[in-house]
């Protein structure tokens, strides 16, 4: 089977202008992936499915991954004009000072696809797509018109992560009930305070259980 670079070359030959980048995967498994852009994704997917050599007709797995915003603190050496006392007189001197600069790397939601070929019996080919951010730009094209097996799995990613798939025939919640509000698999999900009695609660679970018991006791007193 072709390597990731060869597949990228084949995609660029068939779908010119597609934004395809290779994402290296550190670690022993060495399953490198291709990052696609949203605009050409469906065309690339159709090419991968119908190409005579690759023939990736089996979409095995659709996974959602949540990458939250990261605050990165860097130490930067900066030359600045500093006022200092030199020999009793106030002068401006140039000095190299270390400053800590913080910036927020925006997070995104990622969807990972694993493709195999039932005809040629090779694989996996890993594709990725990333959303703009985690709050308002969460739309991605759906692969359901290309591979039907994405049907339920994309619904699950929508349900648990909040990625809206354009072109999906029936996008609604699948594992949680329809009126549920939040997206449970995100890293910043706070589960509701419907705590059950747990005799061996310890650490944060114990703190939350105590807070919950106090709230329940207060509500009962107020109700009385």
């Amino acid at each position: 089977m072709k390597t990731v670079e060869e597949i990228k070359a084949a995609i660029l030959a068939a779908v010119p202008g597609a934004g395809v980048t290779v994402v290296q995967n550190p670690g022993p498994a060495a399953q490198h992936s291709l990052l696609l852009d949203a605009a050409h994704a469906v065309a690339v997917a159709k090419f991968l499915r119908d190409d005579a050599e690759l023939n990736l007709d089996f979409l095995s797995n659709v996974t959602g991954v949540d990458w939250p915003d990261k605050e990165i603190a860097e130490k930067v050496k900066v030359t600045k004009q500093v006022e200092k006392e030199v020999d009793g007189a106030l002068t401006t001197v140039e000095e190299t000072v270390e400053e800590t600069r913080k910036h927020v790397q925006p997070g995104y939601l990622e969807v990972v696809y694993h493709l195999f070929s039932m005809e040629k019996k090779h694989g996996p080919v890993v594709l990725r797509m990333r959303t703009g951010n985690r709050s308002d730009q969460v739309t991605l094209p759906s692969f359901t018109p290309v591979w039907r097996s994405a049907d339920f799995q994309e619904r699950e990613v929508f349900d648990l992560y909040g990625v809206v798939f354009e072109g999906h025939p029936d996008l609604r919640r699948i594992l949680m009930w329809d009126e549920f509000k939040d997206h449970p698999m995100r890293k910043d999900y706070v589960d509701p305070d419907d705590f059950e009695y747990e005799p061996t609660a310890h650490d944060e679970v114990l703190k939350r259980a105590q807070a919950h018991q106090e709230k329940v006791a207060a509500a009962m007193e107020a109700g009385q």
Binding site: Y197, P199, T200, A201, H202
Partner: protein
């Protein structure tokens, strides 16, 4: 002939039905609770704490290292360390658990606590008839109800208990060997010391 397949199937069922009256292996039902299926040695239900000797508090092997509490997947173990120490099976002073609770309604019998315990203190019991009508505390087993003797451990898992005993005896023998070697070295040093002191006193009296 139409219906031949059905007749073949009915003949099979009839053979099994008639056979269950004559052959033991065709009658596979065990009338529980009057009869019990033969117990399998390796089976595991819920954990218990092992103690050596006649007294459970003094002989408890657990030293409250809290490794089982950390590794337990559903976090059903709750340990509080004691303030004082008591001697363990080799004589070293160790802390012990002042409180060791296992919530059996949360425990999923995975046996990871047994695997990670470095002191052979927690093992799996085979007692499964534990139903109670106290919903909130009845399935919370504390230190006293969890402590069972090493002899009991031998009755439920004989091969495993024999291996554990052999390992502990080996450890104890190694510790005793080291203690004996240390004592012999100290005794050798003490034997040398009086010899080096004797000439000094002789000189002192001479100087006087």
């Amino acid at each position: 002939m139409l219906g031949e397949g059905i007749l073949k199937g009915l003949a099979e069922t009839a053979r099994n039905f008639a056979g269950s009256f004559v052959s033991k292996e065709r009658l596979t039902t065990v009338q529980y609770p009057e009869e019990r299926a033969p117990a399998i040695e390796a089976s595991r239900v819920f954990p218990f704490l092992v103690y050596d000797g006649p007294e459970w508090e003094a002989g408890l092997r657990c030293v409250a290292c809290q490794i089982c509490e950390k590794e337990c997947p559903p976090k059903c173990i709750y340990i509080e360390k004691s303030k004082d120490k008591k001697p363990d099976y080799v004589g070293k002073l160790q802390i012990y658990p002042a409180r060791f609770d296992i919530d059996v309604s949360v425990c999923m019998s995975c046996q990871i606590c047994v695997e990670v315990c470095p002191f052979e203190a927690i093992k799996m019991d085979t007692e499964f008839e534990l139903a109670t009508d106290d919903r909130f505390g009845g399935l919370l087993h504390d230190r006293k109800s969890l402590a069972k003797s090493n002899e009991y451990y031998h009755t439920i898992h004989p091969t495993e208990a024999a291996e554990v005993d052999a390992r502990l005896a080996e450890e104890k023998a190694k510790v005793e060997e080291k203690a004996r070697a240390a004592a012999a070295a100290a005794a050798a040093k003490a034997a040398e010391a009086p010899k080096s002191e004797a000439p000094k006193t002789g000189e002192g009296t001479e100087a006087q």
